[in-house]
């Protein structure tokens, strides 16, 4: 950044600018002039959309290149970002996506790669409908599933499905850092047609120095990553730093093989909870600074269940009009007791006085 840009940013973030823009904040004015201007928030413009995998009859996969605002602080390989889109210009929906490009510096472009989940509002919008020029809302990069600054001589990646993206970011970063150590890259996909980054991985396999790429396709007789199989591919794997990322099935299958070794770093890709239409299940009330409270779902409204569990969430009218009780539902399905509508979106603001959970549900009070 130039000196002028640095100075401008410093002024815009100053207490002086905040005093002038109170109570709305500097960004509420800047965004009206140019959506790429920001003092604190992070936004990005989509500058490229590339289809990675497009198998007829299966959800496509795309890589989206984002030009963030200068407020983007960069990311470490393996981190993810919350990305919000306004579908049809109205409802902003936010989901988490892993950055697939190598580590970035402040203001740098980066990419995210995702499959268009048939039930996913955001991933489908990004892959199938978004166009170059579309603005999206971002958080800063988050997550502890990252490559250390000092990389051990031998490291292993074990990934499944879309879980390949953080490992890909790490692999690309290592290549850019001209890492000289050994890398074992094990990936588990449905079939070669579904393989994300196939060409790049093939290129790495052929020319990569010290990188073993193992792509496994169980449908074609590829073996699961059992302890025996891991030992065959990576002898003594329990003592080697390993990054494991993928769906719960893969993680649950691989984790025991490490017998609690602290060399294993894990990140889950959680499947969305599905409503079974019943009141059974567990309701989890989370609150910063206190342990979570878990209670069996009684089918009553979340406010009543929270109170029954001895909690005192804030509330007002208790009839859905005053919004005093608005809380964030982290995951699960809730039914609006006034309208009967159900909703399964994660990280959704709900009025707990008129929302009753269906099945498992987690709410941040």
């Amino acid at each position: 950044m130039s000196i002028i840009a640095d100075a401008t940013t410093a002024v815009l973030r100053s207490r002086f600018a905040a005093a002038l823009a109170t109570p709305h904040g500097v960004d509420r004015y800047l965004e009206l002039v140019n959506p790429m201007w920001a003092a604190n928030e992070v936004r990005a413009r989509i500058v490229d959309i590339t289809r990675e995998v497009d198998v007829p009859g299966h959800p496509p996969v795309a890589t989206i290149t984002l030009q963030p605002t200068s407020t983007w602080r960069g990311h470490r390989a393996g981190q993810h970002v919350q990305l919000g889109v306004e579908v049809d210009g109205a409802r902003r929906t936010t989901r988490v996506f892993t950055v697939s490009s190598p580590e970035s510096k402040p203001g740098d472009r980066f990419t995210i790669t995702m499959r268009a989940n048939p039930d996913g509002v955001v991933s489908r919008y990004l892959v199938e409908r978004a166009t170059v020029g579309t603005m999206v809302h971002l958080s800063q990069a988050q997550g502890e599933f990252v490559l250390p600054d000092h990389v051990p001589d031998h490291i292993v990646f074990i990934t499944g499905g879309s879980g390949i993206t953080p490992a890909m970011s790490m692999l690309r970063s290592l290549q850019r850092r001209t890492h000289r150590g050994r890398i074992t890259f094990l990936h588990y996909a449905q079939s070669p047609e579904h393989q994300i980054f196939a060409a790049e991985l093939e290129e790495i396999r052929r020319s990569g120095y010290g990188i073993d790429v193992h792509l496994v396709y169980p449908e074609q007789g590829g073996r699961n990553f059992s302890a025996l199989e891991l030992e065959r591919i990576v002898p003594g794997y329990r003592d080697i730093d390993t990054w494991l990322c993928g769906p719960a099935g893969l993680v649950d299958a691989v984790r025991p093989a490490f017998e609690g070794s602290d060399k294993l770093h894990v990140e889950y890709f959680k499947p969305p909870a599905v409503s079974n239409g019943s009141a059974e299940g567990d309701v989890t009330f989370a609150r910063a600074g206190t342990p979570d409270v878990v209670a069996a779902n009684t089918g009553a409204t979340l406010l009543e269940q929270a109170e029954a569990a001895g909690l005192t969430p804030q509330f007002g009218c208790r009839m859905g009009i005053c919004f005093s009780c608005t809380a964030t539902k982290k995951e699960g399905t809730v039914r609006n007791v006034l309208t009967g509508e159900t909703s399964s979106l994660p990280d959704e603001d709900i009025r707990i006085c008129v929302s009753s959970p269906e099945g498992d549900c987690s709410v941040e009070l």
């Binding site: 005093a19 109570p23 009206l32 109205a90 902003r92 009839m319 005093s324 006034l338 603001d349």
Partner: protein, 388 residues
């Protein structure tokens, strides 16, 4: 998140069936009341399902205009001959910010958009009252217990006598003076309202401890920022025009005070608006709640500009029936609501601004004096006679 809002008062049930004994203020039978409630519920459900791009585009457009007027107003203070235009521009900005944007956003009317900038939990407005304090007194106390004398603190705001049910005391001889002062310093009045001074004087509440502790802390923080902005930093920025900018900002705040006071007083105080007692509304059903909102509110007729500048509180009735539905929908809803009122034989209190204001002023003066004779039980559907 801390649990600041923690009312100890009993809770209104969201029950759908009327089973309590209805006082003479209710001109509908229990069955009719339930059917009336169902019709209102049906309207709300239909509109909620239809919310989308147009509503989002509308509020964003209003925000754009408001920011435009604000910036233009602030800049024009550098050109002294344009002082009146600058003041007008800033006044419009503050009115839009407080009414069509602030009041409505903080009602949660746009929460469904998922935009933090238009979310009821995040938004704060360009006035002294901190959003969080105001939301408790307004969204909860006023909108839940609308016009229940003794519960709705907006009946007279603990300062004025605005209903016969409030017992006359010599203090109320000053009713018109208090009203005038409240109008002039309205943003300060709204801010102080949440401290519940009347409760403090009655010895039921500590001025700065207990519930008032966090309320006062928020007030200190917000007032500091507002004063710094309008009366220190922006005037200083205009250098030699310090005093003229300072005066301009003060006048803009005053214009907003007078306008919002007048609009708001037309919402519940014109003649014919019904009030209710705590006993009458005990164990109230949803239909009963809608009934009370309808008869406890009054509209103002006028142009589209009038509706926007009043934050659509010119449709106070629709706002009270559907407080969390985007206000731009109220004009179209009013047609339906009036048709329903006609079918059930219910009063729909509306009139031009001058008429509603005249009626409010008359009430302020009339209620300053003790009641000439024991007022007859107001029926809620017939206009109470104007005595002044």
């Amino acid at each position: 998140m801390t649990s600041v809002i923690q009312p100890s008062i009993e809770r209104p049930p969201a029950k759908t069936k009327t089973d309590q004994v209805l006082s003479s203020k209710y001109t509908l039978t229990a069955e009719q009341l339930d059917a009336f409630g169902d019709e209102m519920d049906a309207i709300r459900q239909r509109v909620v399902a239809d919310l989308g791009e147009k509503d989002a585009a509308y509020i964003r457009k209003v925000v754009k205009y408001q920011r435009g007027f604000e910036v233009a107003g602030r800049v024009m203070f550098y050109l002294p001959p344009l002082w009146p235009v600058a003041v007008a521009s800033l006044s419009v900005s503050k009115i839009l910010d407080n009414m069509e944007i602030g009041h409505n956003v903080m009602h949660g009317q746009y929460d469904w958009m998922g935009d933090p900038a238009l979310n009821s939990r995040m938004f704060d407005w360009d006035t002294m009252a901190p959003a969080e304090n105001w939301k408790y007194g307004h969204n909860y106390m006023h909108h839940t217990y609308t016009n229940i004398v003794g519960k709705d603190r907006d009946v007279g705001y603990g300062i004025l006598r605005m209903d016969e049910e409030q017992e006359w005391r010599p203090y109320y001889l000053g009713n018109p003076v208090y009203a005038f002062l409240l109008m002039t310093f309205f943003e300060w009045g709204v801010m102080l309202h949440d401290l519940e001074a009347d409760e403090v004087l009655a010895g039921r509440r500590h001025l700065w401890k207990g519930e008032n502790g966090p309320i006062l802390r928020r007030i200190r923080k917000k007032v500091g920022k507002q004063v710094l902005k309008d009366y220190v930093v922006f005037p200083l920025l205009t250098g030699p025009f310090f005093l003229s900018t300072l005066a301009g900002n003060a006048v803009a705040n005053l214009v907003r005070n007078i306008w919002t006071f007048n609009i708001i007083f037309c919402g519940h105080f014109p003649a014919g608006v019904a009030t209710f007692t705590i006993e009458e509304t005990e164990n109230e059903s949803r239909g009963g709640w809608y009934y009370r909102q309808l008869l406890g509110s009054a509209n103002i007729t006028g142009s589209k500009l009038m509706h926007v500048m009043s934050g659509n509180l010119s449709h106070q009735i629709e706002h009270h029936l559907f407080p969390d539905i985007p206000a731009r929908r109220y004009p179209e809803l009013s047609v339906e609501v009036q048709e329903i009122c006609q079918r059930y034989g219910l009063q729909y209190n509306t009139g031009p601004l001058y008429k509603q204001l005249g009626s409010v002023a008359a009430k302020i003066f009339r209620l300053a004096l003790p009641d000439r004779k024991k007022a007859p039980e107001p029926t809620g559907v017939t206009e109470t006679p104007l005595a002044a």
